[in-house]
């Protein structure tokens, strides 16, 4: 129960942050030249000033910045994200269409990075300064140093063009409409390269953290106690070291959920996935303020949700949290 109230308090504390972010993004976009109507007019191939004025009046863009902000926040309180002039649909619908791809990509990349980061970190720590460690650390550094977009493009060149093993982009094959399991497989196939591209970078970080914290924990007194009980090394690692070494990594996941959303913009663009990241990019170009603010709002909620889960997980892993002492 204490854990829940602790996490709940964290949740409440993030609301002001959320409002500040929204206001900040709103004002920042006012500084950018042009608005939705300019973008629409450009798409239509131009138009006269009266049409533009009428459109601005229709979308409420002729009001002062503060009145617009006030309107927006008031709508948000009623859980209304507004209407996207560009897509001609409510923002909530636009986002709902794009959300699954992003969430799928993030979950897949995060799980991949976490799982392999953990395993490789443990292997590297157990063979510290021997060849497995050197090999893993070198590859880790490579993935860490390589720009995500470049890695994505190279992966397309190798696996899609030369080898033709995997599709080069998209979320699913739109030429044939699969259903059920066949569709799931199709989506999975499309997501392999994006997941690797996004995940390898994070895996490199996690494996370094895991290696470091494993080495630290292996030197602690209770590991010596475990050995003095007559326990073999594998058991020592699994039963005493692993859980302790996981704590820093779990913290890191919470911190990096936001960064990962940012990284997905690049990956979604490279692999032309219909996700939130690409939607955000397009909204900026088209000055679609409502959609953009909606995305910021949803992303912030996503990050807060991830952190909430991480808090619960952390408390589950570490009994010292629950008593609050």
């Amino acid at each position: 129960m204490r854990v829940l109230s602790l996490a709940g308090r964290r949740l409440a504390a993030s609301i002001p942050t959320l409002i500040l972010i929204l206001i900040g993004v709103f004002l920042l976009l006012q500084l950018a030249p042009g608005d939705t109507v300019d973008a629409m007019m450009a798409q239509m191939g131009g138009g006269d000033a009266t049409t533009a004025r009428q459109l601005r009046e229709f979308y409420g863009l002729d009001l002062s910045v503060w009145a617009q902000l006030g309107n927006y926040l008031w709508r948000l309180v009623r859980l209304d994200l507004g209407f996207s002039a560009i897509y001609g649909k409510p923002v909530a619908t636009v986002i709902a269409e794009r959300l699954p791809a992003t969430i799928l990509l993030m979950t897949a990349s995060l799980s991949f990075a976490f799982f392999f980061g953990l395993i490789l970190g443990v292997v590297a720590a157990r063979g510290v300064n021997k060849w497995p460690d050197t090999l893993i650390s070198t590859f880790g550094l490579m993935f860490y140093a390589m720009p995500t977009f470049w890695f994505g493009l190279m992966a397309i060149v190798v696996f899609s063009i030369y080898l033709q093993w995997l599709p080069a982009g998209g979320f699913e094959d739109i030429t044939v409409s699969y259903t059920g399991l066949r569709r799931t497989l199709d989506i999975a196939q499309h997501l392999v390269l994006p997941t690797l591209t996004l995940g390898l970078f994070y895996m490199a970080i996690y494996l370094r953290i895991m290696r470091g914290s494993m080495l630290e924990v292996l030197n602690l007194d209770f590991v010596r106690t475990a050995r003095s009980k007559g326990m073999d090394e594998t058991r020592v690692v699994v039963r005493h070291v692993l859980r302790n070494a996981l704590l820093p990594m779990v913290t890191l996941i919470g911190l990096q959920a936001g960064t990962m959303l940012g990284g997905s913009v690049v990956v979604e663009s490279v692999f032309s996935l219909p996700g939130l990241g690409r939607l955000a990019y397009e909204s900026v170009i088209q000055r679609d303020l409502n959609t953009l603010l909606g995305i910021v709002f949803v992303s912030a909620l996503l990050v807060i949700a991830v952190n909430f889960i991480v808090d619960l997980l952390y408390a589950r892993l570490d009994p010292r949290i629950t008593t609050g002492s």
């Binding site: 106690t225 009980k229 007559g230 326990m231 005493h240 302790n244 002492s325």
Partner: protein, 543 residues
């Protein structure tokens, strides 16, 4: 009786590039069943390495390069790793110094004790649980069922060490190695744990190898003693013989450095007080929301004390008694909530931050850990000169003054250019003293200044402190948990418990005829109370 564990000319090699080539050289020890052998020595003497060598749990790069370790006639050095694992825990078990860090913080006590059975027996889960509970009962943990489910941080230090002992004795090992098992504990808890180890050892006939740096503990518990210095066993024999009539010069020197519990004859004290502390209180509040469900800790509760000019006022107590909080209140590192602290008539508690900064000239503090309290990235001389510079002295002048101060505390003035890690523990504490003395304070607040030091180094630092007190006319507030040290350096003493002063007065009177029950309990808990007598015998023998 034939010995159960024999170390025959054992040498342990350190990695190249250390300050010496071997951690242990040709160490020979023998341990019989049903006896307690104390291995005593200062830090770096190789006593813990002995324990690790027997368990074959040496740090990386450290290897046994000679001799035999015979356990029940088998040479442990020749055993394979799998065979060795069967000996660890079941044949030879170990308990460690710091029970907080020696237990896995993320797993329950019952789970960790039960693991012993899981590893070495084929018992069922229910059987293991029953046995574990019985063990917890045996080491007299209050409420074993609750302790079984508890995590290490939920138990007190003494209870954790009891759990540790339960774990070590789970499989009735022939040999128990105890590596400084009571060093991290309060004196009353230490007395209980020592008694527990002694009782269990007698009942089960276990052979105990007890490693310690404390001669009081040796006098309390040992049947036989081995004294180690720089990797060699310099002397061994029956406890009475070694403590009463030490043969080796090093043993004599060590024993002479242990402060006797009896206070020296009182000095004449000035009737003029330099500092008066009246009704000082400090409370900590934790948790709770808008005052609900809050926990209030009275760290210091209505403390009133007087420090006469030129005197040393000792504040003694166990951990959590509020003595360190009081010390920090005196120099306003912590703001007391109420009460006054008058230094030369000025109430420090009422001063603003700005005024307090200039008042710090007159009152300075020395800290416990001489390593942690010096900035590792600054030269020692700069650390000492900093206070002077802050108080308006030009930099070159201040550095020159730092050199003088180094001379004053017995350090080489040229060493001001060195960094803290290049000094030994005792030297670092001297730097701490020089830093505190730089501003020529009238009052020095010393918070456990010698607790982290070896006994011989401790004696040197205490001697220096006494000299400086005479030469500079210092008045000292001396905080310590070590009653032996207090007996030697203090004129007056105040005993603190749960934030309150339960008894205070001249040291001879308080320690000679303690009035309060807690003071009596505290004094009765000191290991080897009778040891002081033996020591005087030793001094006479050397004279």
């Amino acid at each position: 009786m034939s010995p159960i564990l024999v170390l025959d000319d054992v040498s342990v090699k350190l990695p190249a590039g250390g300050d010496r080539s071997h951690a242990m050289e040709k160490v020979s020890l023998a341990l019989a069943a049903n006896e307690i052998l104390c291995v005593v020595g200062e830090s770096g003497s190789g006593k813990s390495m002995t324990a690790n060598a027997i368990m074959r749990l040496l740090p990386g790069g450290v290897t046994i390069d000679g001799g035999r370790i015979l356990f029940e006639g088998r040479d442990l050095c020749g055993l394979g790793e799998a065979e060795m694992r069967k000996v660890r825990g079941a044949g030879i078990a170990m308990i460690f110094q710091e029970p907080m860090t020696a237990l896995n913080p993320l797993r329950s006590i019952g789970d960790q004790i039960g693991e012993m059975f899981e590893l070495h027996t084929e018992l069922s889960a229910a059987e293991i649980k029953a046995r574990t509970l019985a063990l917890l009962e045996e080491v007299r943990i209050p409420d074993p069922a609750l302790a079984f489910k508890a995590y290490p941080h939920e138990l007190s230090g003494g209870q954790r060490q009891r759990a540790m002992i339960a774990m070590a004795l789970a499989l009735d090992p022939k040999v128990l190695i105890a590596d400084e098992p009571t060093t991290a504990l309060d004196v009353t808890t230490q007395a209980q744990i020592l008694k527990l180890i002694r009782d269990l050892q007698r009942r089960k006939g276990t052979a105990v190898l007890f490693i310690t740096h404390d001669f009081g503990v040796v006098a309390e518990i040992a049947d036989r003693v081995a004294v180690m210095s720089k990797g060699h066993v310099v002397e061994q024999g029956a406890t009475q013989a070694v403590l009463g009539n030490p043969q080796h010069a090093y043993t004599r020197q060590l024993i002479a450095a242990v402060p006797p519990l009896k206070a020296p004859p009182p000095r004449a004290l000035s009737s003029e007080p330099i500092m008066t502390i009246a009704h000082v209180s400090k409370t900590y509040r934790t948790g709770g929301f808008l005052g609900r469900g809050q926990r209030v800790t009275h760290a210091v509760k209505d403390v009133s004390l007087v420090l006469p000019k030129g005197a040393t006022l000792g504040i003694v107590g166990e951990s959590g008694s509020g003595k360190s909080t009081l010390a920090r209140c005196l120099v306003r590192l912590i703001d007391p909530e109420s009460g006054e602290i008058r230094l030369n008539g000025i109430d420090l508690a009422k001063l603003s931050r700005e005024e307090m900064r200039s008042a710090t000239r007159d009152i300075q503090m020395v800290f416990q850990d001489p390593f942690a309290s010096l900035n590792p990235r600054r030269k020692a001389g700069e650390a000492v000169a900093q206070g002077l510079i802050v108080h308006g002295m030009a930099r070159p002048e201040a550095l020159a003054r730092a050199k003088e101060l180094f001379g004053l505390v017995g350090l080489d003035p040229a060493s001001t250019e060195r960094y803290p890690h290049e000094f030994s523990g005792g030297q670092r504490q001297r730097i701490g003293l020089a830093r505190a003395l730089a501003l020529e304070p009238a009052v020095l607040v010393a918070d456990e200044p010698v607790s982290a030091l070896d006994v011989s180094v401790q004696a040197q630092v205490l001697k220096l402190l006494a000299e400086l007190r005479e030469r500079l006319g210092l008045s000292i507030v001396f905080i310590t948990h070590d009653l032996r040290v207090a007996a030697q350096v203090c004129d007056l003493v105040a005993v603190m418990k749960s934030g309150e002063v339960v008894e205070s007065g001249p040291i001879g009177a308080v320690f000679g005829e303690p009035q309060h029950a807690y003071t009596q309990a505290l004094l009765a808990s000191i290991p080897g109370r009778e040891f002081g007598k033996g020591q005087r015998l030793a001094e006479e023998a050397t004279a």
